[in-house]
Structures are given as structure tokens and as C-alpha cells.
Symmetry: C2
Subunit: 174 residues, 2 copies
DNA sequence: ATTGTTGCAAAGAGTTTGCAATGCT
DNA sequence: AGCATTGCAAACTCTTTGCAACAAT
């Protein structure tokens, strides 16, 4: 009994009106300014809170859950709401500046898009730490498998769950 | 503001009392009977509805969402509830007879565990079809990456999202 | 002045659980 | 009889949204 039909907010600027240059690269750290400029092209206005969130998100460059980001932003801007965090992250995803991951059945995690290359994740089940890695061989095999099945690849996601080096050592010490 | 502390039901039989043989292989199709026997060792009683669900789940051998399974079982046992589906699937997972996947941010999907070998998935974003595949090369590379990072692997999950052969053809025909 | 943004509270979606009635053993 | 199972409704968690007040242009 689930209806996933979402009644869109009528205020939303239609995608075809969005700037093509909105997909900013943040390899150079002025991604924030660029994004803020891009906002105008979507009919957005400047917002101090949004700027703080985005700046923090870019600087930290971690795999944030909404809760984590909320807690950190709260230290900077006391009365921030979850809604604003959610809305800002959604904006970043829409703009191609952030990407969502669902590791296992946990909350969504948001990561900054700042590398051309696709990368995968080692997820520590003890401490929650996330380690990125890139492996061309795996990528190639994935594409080979897809080809075998005549499958048109849009994206892929690989997670390795387990215990990170640090947590293994910590365990032994006890 | 999330508290993931779960107040356990006191009725639950403690894990150390569970049968060691509960992890049944369903490669041979009598997995159902075996499971039903195993239930007794966990202090469970026979239940017609549960049996129907499990039997159906085993026979169909698909990647079920709870909703899908609910709808199909409803045809067999009219007044079944979501709770029962959820509880039965949880039981199967606890017994090692089923496994959960979260493809993207969609509902959980439950699949029967009936192969020794780990397999990965091609997920069609058009029709929702799921194609399993096994690739030793990828497995080996994954283990190599983990070793490099001194990471102790517990499990891993790889999904390739895209459009399946059938949906590609269908699109062209229109 | 117009239109976007925010916080709040409420609503959704998926899942779990307490409870009284019912079913197994 | 004693305890597990079920359906139902309510609770829970994560996320989205309607709305009135506020801020940017």
C-alpha cells in the first residue's frame, strides 16, 4: 500500500530551465562560489545558512549522514532545522555536487562529488568509517559482465563491509 | 535524534539456545521441512500461514519486496497481514535462509539463500528486474583491495544499475 | 513588491511492536 | 493449560512538505 507518486512543488523551476554549467567541479576549492552563482540560474536566492552548510560540506569532504551534518552545522548556526539540511543536500544532489549512498540498511549518506573517477567503498561495521578505493580491474570486469547480459549500465555501486585496520587493532589490545 | 536502541521482546529465545543446525541449505528442495523442524528448537510452533509464506518464498525464488510477497500470499491466504510477512522474513533471515538487499534507496528486498557462491546483481531501473551474476575475477580483486587496506571482509555487495536487454528493445520498438 | 528560504509541525513511507484474540502442542 | 502466532493499530525512524513568518532581490 505504498504510493510513491510525489506531488511536485509547483514552485520548482523546470529542469530544462536549469543552467547547463551547474555541474560544477569542486576539485578546485572555489566550488562554493561557483555553486552560489549557479543558484541564480535556477531562480534561487542567496541564503547564509545554505552557504554555511555547503561550505562545511565541501571542506569536510566526508560521507555525511543527515544527522551528522545537522549536528555539526548546529554548532555554527544554532537554530538550524533538519529540513534545511535535507533541502540543501537535495539541492547539491540535483546540481550534481553530491551523491547519495545507502550502505546496508542504514541512513542515506551524502558525499561530495569531486573526482572524475568512480570509486567504491570499504565500510567498517564497527566504527562506521568509510574508505574509498578505485580499482580499474573491477570496473572493467563490471562492464564485461554487463556486456555479456546486454545490459546498459547507468551506474554501479560496490561496498565491502567488514572491520577496518584500526578496529581490528583496538580489539586485539583489549 | 535517532535512538536505535531496540527494546527486545522478553519472550525471545536467547541466541545461545538456538540450534546450530538451523542454518539449513535449501539447495535440495526440502528446505521447508527442515526449517519447520528447526523451528521447534527455537521454541517455535508450527503455523500454517508461516508455512505457506516460506513455501511460496522458496518456490518462487525471487528478489521479493515485502509488498510483492504480501500481495502474492494474499491470493493464497486471504487475511494475511503485513506483520506476518515481516516477521516470517525476519525469521528466515535470522535462520540464514534469506538475505536482505537494499538496491539504491528502495525497499528492502529478500532473496533466498541457496547457493554457496556469492553473487551480485544487475538491477534494471525500468522494469525492476534483477539479474544475478557471479564473477570470480571481481571477487578476487575485492579481496585484494581489502588486503591492501588491512580490511577484514565480512560481506560485500555489488550492484550495477541500468537498463536490461528487454527494456532496451522495448524502447526501440516504440 | 515579489519571490525564495526557513522552522515548525504534520504527513508519508517502510518497518517494528504491544496487545488481545486465536491457534498449536 | 501454557505458550507461540496473528491481525490490528499504534509507535518508530527517516524523509518530505504545507504553511506562515522572514529574508533576498
Amino acid at each position: 500500500m505504498k504510493m510513491k507518486v510525489k506531488i511536485k512543488n509547483k514552485k520548482e523551476v523546470p529542469p530544462e530551465k536549469w543552467s547547463k554549467r551547474i555541474r560544477v567541479s569542486t576539485r578546485n576549492r572555489n566550488g562554493l562560489e561557483r555553486l552560489l552563482k549557479c543558484q541564480a540560474k535556477r531562480g534561487l536566492k542567496f541564503s547564509k545558512k545554505r552557504a554555511v552548510i555547503i561550505e562545511h560540506f565541501i571542506k569536510a569532504d566526508r560521507h555525511y549522514t543527515v544527522e551528522q551534518l545537522y549536528n555539526e552545522i548546529k554548532e555554527i548556526v544554532p537554530n538550524i532545522s533538519y529540513s534545511t539540511i535535507y533541502r540543501t543536500l537535495k539541492l547539491l544532489v540535483d546540481c550534481g555536487m553530491a551523491r547519495t549512498h545507502h550502505f546496508g540498511d542504514t541512513d542515506a549518506r551524502f558525499e561530495l562529488v569531486h573526482k572524475e573517477q568512480h570509486h567504491d567503498h570499504l565500510v567498517c561495521e564497527k566504527c562506521g568509517r568509510i574508505i574509498e578505493f578505485i580499482h580499474d580491474g573491477i570496473e572493467k570486469f563490471q562492464n564485461a559482465v554487463a556486456k555479456e547480459h546486454n545490459f546498459l549500465v547507468k551506474s554501479h555501486e560496490l561496498q565491502i563491509f567488514g572491520v577496518c585496520k584500526r578496529c581490528q587493532l583496538r580489539k586485539r589490545q583489549r
